[in-house]
């Protein structure tokens, strides 16, 4: 199984390569990708430097052009596809049927991966993208149980990539407008969820309070750890109870599932986090490289090392990890 790691900057790309990523995925510096955060992503010069390193080290570079263009932005998305093709990237990750159609017709040799934002959760959906645009891989949303991943992979016309580690989207990716409902900006259209510019922290008599576009997302007692107010991970009132009504602040961690995912025939494991620091990418990549190598060396004796678990827990939201939807009981 290939290890696909995120890079929101050149140092992160270098860290991923150094620690043994088989492929690194990046985005351009605009809203054509789903991590359109201030100061993030690579400019042209950095991309060229990164690509040189990747070629020297015989790894792969993927570029995500995976948001949905609005009509007026179409030229920007088209240029992003052109730029990726000109760079000679190893894969373009996209979701919009218009973008996929343009890329497949203009650059028939360009390797296309269906982005998780495409929200393809079944074999028929994957067939749509494969037959029309010749996608050669698809990234599955984090909503499927292990059994469902097995079923989808068995019927899929293309190899499958799944999320291995990182922030956990509680909703099917590409099928969530919660962020735009509160802030006007959504992952599909703007490449952001719970945008930083809408966040406000305040010390209030009731405690440290986080708000998103003035909507109270969470409030913390004195010694409680506070996290970024991603709106699906706040505490809300439902039926008179205050709790994490949608999801706790937690990260996905599937180290335990490597043997099962390998048996299913999953082609690649993806680490989430282009918005994370180079140090984060470095540590996560190191652990996952070690885990995948250990599995390859002796599949029958694979066991998760406590040290790996400790490193990943330290890098996780709320220091918690979960198997997420892969484990049916989570649902």
């Amino acid at each position: 199984m290939h290890l696909v790691c995120p890079a929101g900057s050149l140092p992160a790309l270098k860290a991923a390569v150094r620690q043994g990523a088989d492929a690194v995925y990046v985005g351009f510096r605009d809203d054509t990708n789903a991590r359109h955060f201030a100061g993030l992503n690579l400019d042209e010069r950095q991309l060229e430097t990164g690509l040189r390193l990747i070629r020297e080290q015989r790894r792969q570079l993927y570029v995500a052009v995976n948001t949905y263009p609005q009509p007026e932005g179409w030229e920007r998305w088209r240029r992003a596809v052109d730029q990726a093709a000109d760079l000679g990237v190893d894969a373009l990750i996209a979701a919009d049927p218009g973008v996929l159609a343009y890329a497949s017709r203009r650059y028939p040799q360009l390797n296309l991966h269906l982005s998780v934002q495409g929200s393809a959760t079944n074999a028929a959906s994957l067939a749509f993208y494969q037959e029309r645009y010749g996608i050669r891989r698809a990234v599955l949303p984090r909503v499927l149980s292990l059994k469902q991943v097995r079923q989808v992979a068995a019927g899929s016309p293309v190899p499958i990539e799944v999320f291995a580690f990182g922030s956990l989207c509680i909703m099917a990716e590409g099928r969530c407008h919660l962020s735009s409902y509160l802030t006007g900006e959504s992952p599909n259209l703007c490449g952001v969820c719970s945008p930083a510019k809408a966040v406000r922290w305040s010390e209030e008599p009731e405690g440290l309070t986080s708000r998103l576009n003035d909507v109270l997302i969470d409030r913390y007692a004195r010694d409680e750890p506070a996290g970024y107010p991603t709106l699906c991970k706040g505490r809300f009132m439902v039926n008179g109870q205050r709790f994490h009504a949608l999801e706790e602040p937690t990260s996905l961690n599937t180290l335990d599932l490597i043997p099962e995912l390998a048996a299913i025939g999953v082609t690649a494991m993806k680490i989430e986090g282009r918005q994370r620091s180079p140090a984060y990418v470095e540590q996560v990549t190191r652990v996952w490289r070690a885990a995948l190598d250990a599995y390859l060396e002796s599949p029958a004796h694979y066991a998760v090392q406590p040290a790996w678990r400790d490193v990943l827990a330290g890098l996780s939201e709320g220091s918690q990890t979960t198997l997420g939807a892969y484990h049916r009981a989570w649902q």
Binding site: Y68, P69, Q70, P71, W74, D96, P97, G98, V99, A101, Y102, G118, S119, A120, T121, N122, A124, S125, A127, F128, Y129, E131, R132, V143, L144, S145, Q148, Q151, V152, G155, I170, M171, A172, R175, C176, H177, L178, S180, Y181, L182, G184, S186, N188, L189, V215, L216, I217, D218, R219, F236, M237, V238, N239, R242, A245, L246, A325, A329, W330, Q331
Partner: protein
């Protein structure tokens, strides 16, 4: 001359028991509706009505109502069993289908059947629309987060691409379907595992309100679906809807008061003056956060 705006009744997004559903549609049959969408789009475990029941209801409706009946498909299709049900829906041999997942688009395209592209499909620009039109889409219901301007531009872009232009249907009234998850939030709120949910969502005919800790209504929990806390209402935006080229307005069923809602929309499409402002949210239509009421924040 421009043809009159049509009114459609969207699929019931909540889980109502069989009798409630049948009573509701008996009532709707006499309403001035042009299209009625039937079927379960949220959760495959809701089995009060099977495909045969929906087909039977469709036959009954077609005898007493002039409305076109369309079968709406599931939005989040994960299990092999759900894909099999979707195939049966597409093979119904009679009624048009609303695709809410690209899997349904694929199945319908394979069968060369014209279809409605539902609001759960991610279609945001003319180039993407052209792809779906080529696959057989004859009517487009944009994602609920689209602004009027985006929709108008997308249709204009499509017109420049030399393909047949589909009908345009706008989600004009009801709780907005905002998100789909593997997790059932209703079961979670009741501390039940999803696999033993006891169909608890049936206890909430309009979902469960989710409030901020300050009591602000934010969302509505409806099984695996998260909806807007507020009801979206575009009646005051009727002129903009017309100007945008909308052919149909979708009214999404609520547990009570649908007759009045239909009456109001019907009056306006027949020429009555739309209200200057009305309760509920309409931010998305104006390119703002969906939860806002544009008139209140001074946008209109």
């Amino acid at each position: 001359m421009e043809s009159r705006m049509k009114l459609s009744l969207g699929p019931v997004l909540f889980y109502w028991d069989r009798k409630t559903l049948l009573d509701f549609y008996a009532d709707m049959a006499s309403q001035p509706l042009d299209v009625i969408y039937l079927g379960e789009t949220v959760c495959s475990k809701r089995r009060a009505m099977g495909l045969d029941d929906w087909l039977g209801l469709a036959r009954e409706l077609s005898q007493v109502s002039q409305a076109e009946v369309v079968l709406s498909g599931l939005a989040l299709v994960e299990a092999a069993s759900e894909l099999a049900s979707l195939k049966r829906l597409c093979d119904n041999g009679d009624l048009r289908v609303e695709a809410n997942d690209m899997g349904a688009v694929q199945l319908l395209a394979e069968r060369r059947l014209p279809f409605v592209g539902g609001p759960a499909l991610n279609l945001y620009n003319g180039h993407a629309l052209a792809e779906l039109v080529n696959a057989g889409m004859v009517r487009w219901v944009p994602p609920v987060e689209c602004s009027g301007a985006l929709i108008r531009q997308a249709m204009a872009q499509l017109r420049g691409l030399d393909v047949t232009v589909p009908e345009l249907e706008i989600f004009a009234y009801g709780h907005l379907p905002l998100a789909y998850s593997a997790r059932c939030f209703t079961a979670r709120a009741e501390n039940r595992p999803k696999d033993d949910c006891q169909f608890c969502c049936q206890g909430y005919p309009e979902g469960i309100p989710l409030l901020s800790q300050e009591g602000q209504a934010l969302f509505t929990l409806n099984g695996i679906q998260t909806m807007s806390g507020d009801v979206s209402n575009l009646l005051a935006d009727y002129a903009g809807l017309s100007a945008c080229g909308a052919n149909l307005l979708r009214l999404s069923p609520r547990a009570a008061g649908m007759n009045e809602v239909i009456t109001m929309f019907d009056a306006v499409r027949r020429g009555a003056t739309p209200p200057l402002a009305i309760g509920g949210c309409n931010g998305y239509w104006h390119g703002q956060p969906g939860m806002l009421r544009a008139e209140e924040v001074g946008l209109c």
